[in-house]
Amino acid sequence: MPTLPELGRFSDVSVLLLISLAGGDRHGYAIMDDIEQLTGHRPGPGTLYGAVARLEALGWIAPAQSDDRRKPYRLTGAGRAALHHHLSTMQHLVNAGSARLEQAT
């Protein structure tokens, strides 16, 4: 299974996009709003759709049913597993880093 860092410069936005969709189906503009609320930084439309295209090609997200021009996306099972795996890795890093900082002080 590919990992998020393999998505190059789109990996950070991809993580945020997966986290956003973990909270429910959203279209592009709503995803940008959600990421801005989470991080204080609004991704550019090109970067966002670069991540959307890559995650969709990996089967981690999929378009949800809608008649609107603004197509919403949903997280797939594979996407949920990939996000869980990535967050677990990050959690491990956070724990290790925090422990070392406490040891140093």
């Binding site: 590919p2 592009g28 439309p45 090109g46 089967g59 603004r70």
Partner: protein, 256 residues
Amino acid sequence: MNHLSRWLIRCYPTWWQQRYAEEFLALLAQQPPTVAHIIDILRAARDEHRRALTPAPTKAVPGLRLATTGLLASGVLLLVVFLIPHAVSERQTETLVFTVPLPLLASLPFFVCAVARHQKRPLPLPGLGLAAGVSALCALGLALPRLHEVPGLLPAAVFVALCMTLGMWLALVNANGLRGHLAPRWMLLAGIVAGLSWCALLASALLNMAYPQGMGAVSALLSASLLIWLVSQPVWTAAACVWLWRSSSARYASAV
């Protein structure tokens, strides 16, 4: 602003436009692009073009390695077959300026494609185009002044044409490996027929050079292989172009 948005979308590959243009336009209608957004979109469009030319690092494509290895081996074999008669030819010095770089440049696309594939990097298309262009110029320089005097001239020109076509085909196989696309069987068959007939053409031309006085069977083989090659090669090349055009838009559909 609507014109600007449409122009920005046209910077993306065709398959991307067919898949995402409508919703991307809806997004840009909600949030008119700033200068920073325009730069961001142009960078993303460039990345999509590069992605289409980069072999997938994780997706195994059945037969792709075999096809690539076979084409590379045939390229090396043809290079050797071409060099040997010219190495022993007495007229070598007359056309040295063209005959030395010609096989090297003509075979360059094979090696460039192989290295790009091995390193999982995008194909250096300008470099491939330059190699093909310079080798074509060498072929012209070799062919025009002494069309009827230099033995092996026709096979040399055919060799260049085949190398360039094979290089192009290898590039197509390489690029389309990203989405698990392989050429349809009938197109591969046309390519095999073209390749075999060309080999027969070269072999009979070399035999004709070695025994110019006789061997009617060789002359018949030369004519037959030339005829088959002249028919199969354009079919193959046209099929490759049509296939690339169709798969570029179908690429996305097969990926998800």
